[in-house]
Amino acid sequence: MTDTTANKTAARRSFGDIDLRAVAPFVALAVLLVLGALVNPNFLGLDNLLNVLTRSAFIAIIAVGATFVISAGGLDLSVGSMSAFVAGVMILFMNTGVVAGSLPMLAVAMLLALGIGALCGLANGVITTAGRIEPFIVTLGTMGIFRALTIYLAEGGSIAMKAPDLRAAYRPVYFGNVFGVPIPVLVIIAVALIGAFLLYRTAFGRHVIAVGSNEDVARYSGIPVNRVRTLTYVIQGVCVAIAVLVYVPRLGAATPTTGLLWELQAITAVVIGGTALKGGVGRIWGTICGALILEVVGNIMVLSNFVSEYLIGAVQGAIIIIAMLVQRSLVRRR
């Protein structure tokens, strides 16, 4: 009798813990929203909030993929340059005009982008697992490779969509909305839902966590560790491609600087969201929240006029560290 009570208490306490840890990033986001409102009254305007939400799509979508990779104990530094590469190839394909009609062309180009993203991810995954090389090195290498290929394709300049009608047909994917909700926001939600389903509700997701938690255990349990790891990179590649699908209509071009430092932002979003870099934990919704936090911080920086332009990087860095401190103290206090 007494024993059962003790057990229950332990269980309850631990549930409380988990909840708080999952909630912490959202609290940090809420604090930031309040801060933003204080800094500039326009901040809480619907337009501004929708802008911020919409443009967080790229990092949020990529970061969902990164959540898989990191939960499984991996790391992908190549996502930024992979974005540029996929975007570049996609635009070059659209510029060939081999498919007649705007919509068919768009559909084929999108499929192509997804395929290339998956292949790029597959390359990362296979080299990492089959070659047994630290993912840090592999993806740093492929980061250089994707970036250079983009530059090569762009011949040092930029790759822009040429056909104006295609451009017009594609624009709504970033700028359009459904019942007032911008399409990129819908894409974020869809990707996060699918990601959460995969990670939390399928055997594959279980295996991802197990591999990140303890590789040996996973192996002894009959989990094909390398295949699971590789698949996380493929998922990452597909997420990059999805982000590109939303990105291309916005600026209509890929340049050698497209996606610069996105890898750091994606990883930061994942970590702020509560996923540990050592693997074994994955929080999709935390990740989305992390991406929003990053975007909101950037937005507040533009909307505020207190700090010298030179110091923006410092304030951003400080805010992120402080947000993490707030989170940690929340979790510790229980």
């Binding site: 279980r206 349990s221 074994g280």
Partner: protein, 510 residues
């Protein structure tokens, strides 16, 4: 020779295993009959676990072959072995710490419902599987939060979930208390009754006596004998294992304890784990802490030495002290040996020498430099003194057999030359010969005026070595037994909270 109608379920024929040039198993023959419990006993490092890993497909033998139902079989890996009905409960805990109990139990064989996994069914199944072992563990709790004993039970539950014909238990009871052990033994008899074969490794020889039909003895990687358990008393087993007489396990205690207190603890709270603990430890005394799994003994004493936040008053040699970190208590001459030797005791990926001197590095400094020669000598000494069985001093700590890891941990902490030694589960997974050595060692410590606290779930052990025993339940010290009251019955009554009167009443109604 008896020819049975059926071939043995699983047979090892001339199995040898070498790691590099070191042969740890040589020419082992073993046949498992359906419906038998076959015990494997042997000293630490004798090769028991290695043999079990070969039988369960985790390792490939260097020479020899396996036969399943009389036909030669090559096991491609643990998964293949499991598919053929051979399951192994590892000596080490092999669970993913970030997954829940249910997720671990079903890892790699999730119950699916359409595309998704059926968590409800798995939680239910896991709860049942654990309950079958006589414990109640919330299936939705993450394994990282469980005690070692609970993890061990989860691991057993996981193994038993698949259809099995051969179940191999590698020291399943090492971290279990009496009640859980009894429940497990009942489960084993159940398995046996269903016609499966059980391989059972344990250093607790009475247990072996109780359950085994046949006993195989390994020594130094060689098979010494396989005998019927009938008429084989624990003393005989011990002799076969060690190769000499182990006459008396527990040393005679000459009461040497002084009347002054080495350590006084008053109203100590370890938030979340232990409340209002007060006890005193005399100089030269051996004090035992008994209790059920999860009673909070580990956490209380971790609180005492500064490994966990704790509030309360403490006096060392009569002087008030406060330990904020474990360094403080170490400097004051108290050492704590963790029950979790893999997680908290040893650096498994580092060499023996580095592990040995880690806590006492200060003694090995010459100026700023680490004196490597002195380190090497310390390792030699420790190997000799604690009888650490290793054929290669360059091994990593993780490559030692389980029992030898415990000895290495003991040696590591003793280098600090402490005044008070707190040992959590000192002989978990230790063979009987070594146990004797460790008990002798503990007695000698006390004899030389040091004080020892022994936390143990093995009731015989606390009774055998301690002068006085405190019993904990639910984070509180609920009683003390001394002298002739130090019996298993008294302790169980205190530990479970069923007073003797209640017990008597229950008995009457039964």
């Amino acid at each position: 020779m008896v020819t049975t109608a059926r071939p043995p379920l699983l047979e090892a024929v001339g199995i040898s295993k070498s790691f590099g040039p070191v042969e740890v198993l040589g020419d082992i023959n073993l046949a498992l009959e359906p419906g038998e419990v076959h015990a494997i006993i042997g000293e630490n490092g004798a090769g028991k676990s290695t043999l079990m890993k070969i039988l369960a497909g985790h390792l490939a033998p260097t020479r020899g072959e396996l036969k399943l139902d009389g036909t030669p079989a090559v096991l491609a890996g643990p998964v293949d072995a499991e598919a053929r009905g051979i399951v192994l409960v590892h000596q080490e805990i092999l669970l993913a710490p970030d997954l829940t109990v249910a997720q671990n139990i079903y890892l790699g064989r999730e119950i699916r419902k359409g595309l998704s996994v059926d968590d409800k069914a798995m939680n239910k199944g896991a709860a049942e599987a654990v309950r079958a072992l006589g414990v109640d563990i919330d299936p939705t709790i993450t394994v990282g939060r469980l005690s070692i004993a609970q993890r061990q039970l989860v691991q057993i539950a996981r193994a038993l979930l698949v259809p099995h014909r051969v179940v191999i238990f590698d020291e399943p009871t090492a971290s279990l208390t009496l009640t859980e052990t009894e429940a497990l033994l009942r489960v084993i008899l159940d398995i046996k009754k269903k016609g499966a074969a059980v391989l059972f490794i344990s250093h607790r020889l009475p247990e072996v006596k109780e359950i085994a039909d046949r006993v195989t003895v390994l020594r130094d990687g060689k098979l010494i004998t396989t005998r019927s358990a009938e008429g084989l008393e624990p003393v005989d087993m011990a002799r076969l294992m060690v190769g000499r007489d182990v006459a008396k396990l527990y040393p005679d205690r000459v009461a040497t304890k002084a009347e002054d207190y080495a350590l006084e603890v008053e109203a100590l709270d370890v938030p979340g784990y232990a409340q209002g603990a007060s006890f005193k430890l005399k100089r030269g005394e051996i004090l035992g802490f008994a209790g059920l799994v999860g009673a909070g003994r580990t956490e209380l004493l971790e609180g005492v030495v500064g490994l966990r936040p704790a509030h309360g008053r403490m006096k060392l040699d009569g002087k008030p002290v406060q330990f904020v970190t474990v360094r403080d208590s170490m400097r004051a001459g108290i050492v704590y040996l963790s029950e979790d030797r893999k997680g908290k005791g040893l650096l498994l990926a580092q060499k023996l020498g580095i592990n040995l001197t880690l806590a006492a590095l200060g003694q090995f400094l010459r100026g700023m430099l680490i004196d490597r020669r002195k380190e090497a000598k310390a390792l030699d000494d420790a190997i000799a003194e604690f009888d650490i069985r290793t054929r290669d001093k360059e091994l990593l700590a993780g490559q030692l057999s389980g029992g030898n890891q415990q000895k290495l941990l003991l040696a590591k902490m003793m280098l600090l030359d402490p005044k008070i030694v707190i040992i959590d589960e000192p002989t978990r997974g230790i063979d009987i010969g070594t146990k004797e050595q460790i008990y002798k060692f503990i007695a000698e410590l006390a004899q030389s005026g040091k004080s020892v606290i022994v936390i143990s779930s093995e009731m015989q052990e606390v009774i055998g070595v301690c002068d006085r025993i405190l019993v904990m339940r639910n984070g509180r010290i609920v009683g003390e037994v001394t002298g002739e009251h130090m019996t298993e019955d008294e302790i169980v009554v205190l530990a479970t909270g069923v007073t003797s009167r209640e017990a008597a009443v229950t008995a009457e109604h039964a």
